[in-house]
Amino acid sequence: MTTMLEVADLGHTYQAKSGAHTAIDGLSFRVDAGELVCVVGPSGCGKSTLLRTISGLIRPTRGDVTLHGDAVRGVPEDLAVVFQDYSRSLFPWLSVQRNVEFPLKRTLKRAERRARAAEALDQVGLSGAGGKYPWQLSGGMQQRVAIARALAYRPALLLMDEPFASVDAQTRFELEDLLLKVKREHDTTVVVVTHDIDESVYLGDRVLVLTKSPASVVADLPVNLPAVRDQITTREAEEFVELRAEVARLLNVGKTEAITAKRRSDEAQAAKWVAAERAANRERADREAVAD
């Protein structure tokens, strides 16, 4: 497996009048080509900052991001982002078709653009909707358009920032399965940032658990579920239930003992904490998982 993305000792501190705020600190991980990695962390822990540094939208104050061997300085050529807020990331004055064509204008001729956009819309199950305007579609369909736009761009790395947080539960399941389907078909490398524990386990080949702000990686858990997943049976599988509980516990450790978690270069220490707090936190963790 070749490494697609490498994040080494990444840190970012915002300078504001009211003082400095460190959003992420000492983050390191790597993502292999064709992998789907979910980054899960408590709300406001700096997930968005992480995503923006990876995509080159903001420059980290320390550390390096490397995409297929090239250091990221500014937005890389072959990277796409799907934002949470589809109603803002889509351009209301462009039809669905033209929204998908939007990033292709720079590189492709008109006819090619059209074909590419049509193909991408077909993949997300919106082949008939190209002539409509975004506001004529439901929220879930709009997010499909945003996904189609990212797919049509054929990125080496697809970043998703809480992509399904603004749609209802039923639609969320559909979109999760859609993502898994296109990822299998295209062998795309995907990084999904989410605060939803179940989602991270359901989607991911691996789950990265972050601590509370300033964020660092608390655990890197492989997901040993079959590649083809199902909303009902997968969620019932023992492996799924265990992992989900594990992630929830880790998140709680991050919450109660951020400092320890931050220095988790020693995995064992974190594990000890997990063991110590397990009993006390169990109930809380479950409630948290449900609430999420």
Binding site: V81, P92, W93
Partner: protein, 276 residues
């Protein structure tokens, strides 16, 4: 259809009442509408067939007036939108220019007529300068506002897909600012009509305003009224045309924001009304 009848029915009844009242009062200052219509026909529509029955007055006064108005409006539109986009997307430029802009637009445009009279003396130059300088502010400020309203997600989306500069400006910033720009254009259009008349009232002998003054001095009140009506019709026509263009250009907007309540009650129309 019944709404249409109702609207214009009342209009017709009111005109009829005016006619009756004016005939009854026989006041020289307030001629009946029929006399005004007669005067208008005499003034503008008594030409020969080869000029489509339009008179020389139309070509010597009405056409130049309208030309000045439209040229001034187009210049102000281009300048205002271009500058507005540049300023709106640059924090620093706005910090420098913001207070100046607020002050400039606070100057009542007619107060500038004498200034331009001194700079340009009389004539088309001065009139154009008055119109352009007077109406550029609503367009400029609205464009700045619109350009600033591009939300962060759209900025980042465009950055992530590395869209070229031209596509960023014409494909993202301009359409995002378009609703505001149109509001500004509409305010400016009715303002330009005002400034056109003012600039023609101060001592030129050419244009609708000058003709109106002439009619007043010669006590030709039906002619004067005809000019007033002409200005009203021009204002109505310009506004209607621009609204139609706007409606097409902004067809992408969700329908509830563009409720078909006619032209008088939309917030943008409120802005228009604020122009003069």
């Amino acid at each position: 259809m019944s709404g249409f009848l109702q609207r214009w029915g009342v209009f017709v009844v009111l005109v009829a009442l005016w006619e009756a009242a004016a005939r009854f009062a026989e006041d020289a200052y307030f001629p009946p509408p029929s006399r005004i219509a007669e005067a208008a026909a005499e003034l503008w529509f008594s030409g020969t067939a080869d000029t489509l029955f339009l008179t020389d007055v139309v070509f010597d006064h009405v056409v130049p007036s309208v030309q000045r108005l439209l040229i001034g409006w187009v210049i102000a539109g281009v300048v205002g939108v271009a500058l507005g986009l540049a300023l709106g997307r640059s924090e620093r430029a706005m910090q420098y220019c913001g207070p100046l802009l607020t002050f400039m637009r606070s100057i009542p445009p007619p107060a500038l007529v004498p200034v331009f009279l001194l700079i340009f003396t009389l004539g088309t130059q001065m009139q154009l300068a008055t119109i352009v300088f007077g109406i550029v502010w609503p367009i400029l400020l609205n464009t700045v506002d619109g350009a600033r309203s591009v939300d962060r997600t759209k900025v980042e989306t465009s950055a992530v897909f590395r869209v070229p500069r031209t596509q960023w400006i014409f494909g993202v910033v301009l359409p995002a600012a378009a609703p505001k720009i149109f509001a500004g254009l509409r305010v400016s259009l009715s303002l330009s009509l005002v400034l056109m008349v003012i600039s023609e009232l101060v001592g030129t002998d050419n244009g609708i305003g000058a003709q109106m003054l002439l009619a007043q001095r010669e006590f030709e009140f039906p002619d004067m009224w005809a000019e007033i009506v002409l200005l009203g019709v021009l204002g109505y026509v310009f506004n209607t045309v621009l609204l139609a263009v706007e409606h097409r250009a902004l067809a992408w907007q969700p329908k509830q924001e563009h409720a078909p309540t006619g032209t008088t009650t939309t917030p943008a129309a409120v802005a228009t009304a604020g122009a003069k």
